[in-house]
Symmetry: C2
Subunit: 319 residues, 2 copies
């Protein structure tokens, strides 16, 4: 029997379940809606049903060793999901204990960016690195910090919230209730806000003037930049400046070997990497200059949330 690990990515809309081998290969991937269940317990039961049904073809060849899950506000120490802003259930949800009872398997939980960091360490570009930072650029900005070869969970299990470090305390409103958080500038949503600010401030023609805010994506902005659109290029410059400056601050905390960028915005390639790296180097304390790499994630076209969650299970329960 070969060993199989399950990775679960619990998102606000969908929950994705992946069957993943010890080498990080996906056997298959399945999804159910996170919404519309009678209760949290019922939701867990539905995941179990899905797993049982989809695992049938593999029963003779594989045994499930452990389950890893990533969720917003997922607490590694307690196995709880705590007041996740985009889930229907409020308060502390006892995910790991309940799901472990249900599945009769070890279950481990963290947030999606921490899971992504472990995925990068086991199967991506951070293989063999003991000190690095993973940045996931999606609707928000998630991060996972690895030091001395271990993920930093912190005292309460919630370390690595670089998306909520402050760029400007009088700046943009953030979903967390404060103002000026990094993710209001640097994320797929953040660069949209920047495009709209630049469209408001400046006079240049731009294809982006034809797209409503709700229809705008990081992909639109990248394509506009590729076509030489001034507003798009300025938006990447502004985003890269803020990201570069805040990553320089992050370096003064943990002094990593490399910083990996993952997600839609990171797919913009040179448009985001070039200004980020330029402002990063300018902003670094001299002893850190010209030695820290800012690189794309090695897992860019994979479902890193699911792979990362499974990686956590592989890391903790490999036999």
């Amino acid at each position: 029997m070969k060993n199989l690990y399950i990775g679960i990515d619990i998102g606000g809309t969908n929950t994705i379940v992946g069957f993943i081998t010890s080498n990080g290969n996906f056997l298959s991937e399945h999804r159910i809606s996170t919404k519309g269940h009678k209760s949290f317990d019922d939701f867990l039961l539905q995941i179990k049903t899905l797993i049982t049904e989809k695992f049938e073809p593999y029963l003779d060849e594989y045994q499930i060793i452990a389950i890893g899950a990533g969720a917003p506000n997922g607490n590694y120490y307690k196995g709880t999901i705590e007041d996740a802003p985009n889930l229907e259930w409020k308060g502390k949800l006892e995910f790991s204990r309940k799901f472990s009872d249900l599945m009769q398997l070890p279950v481990v939980l963290t947030n999606d960016a921490n899971a992504a960091a472990i995925g990068e360490m086991l199967f991506g570009n951070a293989k063999g690195m003991k000190n690095f930072i993973m940045i996931t650029l999606g609707t928000g900005l998630g991060s996972g910090l690895v030091a001395n070869g271990e993920l930093i969970y912190g005292h309460d299990g919630f370390a690595g919230e670089l998306g909520h470090t402050i760029v400007n305390s009088q700046g943009r409103y953030c979903g967390c209730g404060r103002r000026g958080c990094l993710e209001t500038y640097v994320s797929a949503t953040g660069i949209k806000r920047t495009v709209y600010k630049i469209l408001a401030d400046r006079l240049e023609e731009s294809v982006l003037r034809a797209i409503p805010f709700d229809g705008l994506t990081a992909k639109n902005i990248t394509e506009a930049a590729q076509a030489g659109d001034k507003v798009a290029i300025l938006s990447f410059e502004y985003t890269g400046q803020i990201l570069g400056e805040k990553l320089a601050d992050a370096v003064a905390h943990t002094s990593p070997e490399a910083i990996f960028l993952f997600g839609g915005l990171a797919k913009a390639g040179k448009y985001i990497f070039e200004p980020t790296i330029r402002h990063f180097e300018q902003s670094l304390l001299p002893i850190y200059r010209n030695k820290i790499k800012i690189l794309p994630s090695g897992l860019m076209d994979q479902n890193v949330a699911v792979l990362g969650a499974a990686s956590l299970a592989i890391k903790e329960f490999s036999i």
Copy 2:
């Protein structure tokens, strides 16, 4: 024979050598000038001579197990002191290797704030804590970050330079060549600069108007605040606001259980702690609020640089 450890604090002006027991007690403390030696090698020879001479009374009772040293830009991994701005010798100084050859003993090196963090963990208020931050407030602002029970040295051995995170990139000039570093606002020197800014901006009478910049100390400012001096109180408020806001950012990196403040400025007690804690709590991401302690160091009246350096030796070479 009882075990003895040597802690060495290499400062710009003086170098202090302490004989310290496994329990963190000082047997004795000695100093030589860091300046005016023919060469770095000659300086090391002088330290050896001092140790040999001063150790004589303890020869029958104690054996020296290991030596720990703290120095500006001290590199833990390489044992080198690299381009320390306030030392006479430039480039990379091979401290640990050379001094270990000379003494025929294990030698370990780090910077003074990292050493202080280890001292706090072994003998101060961080006993038993696995996640905390140590802040030393002297001429500059030093820091040591502990996560998962280990000091974070980072890939290059230079992690934990919170004094050089950026408050305002158009702000005060810093000795590092950049502008707006945290230590230009929050340190014994930083609060002096703030006092002078407030004296320039405002009209209030103040005892501090009689003191020249070079004569002003954190102690003067504290005494003025105790006497109700408005300028002094406003200076602590401003310092506490900036420190509180930047510590909230630090929490978003490593999520510590506690943050310890050490040094002359920390001795101002409520004048510095009250505004720092108030702005810290206001600035924290909601999930971190009301659970992270900001406390005075437990080693406040000791020579923490020497004790910390010895603590590093105790941690690494206790037998």
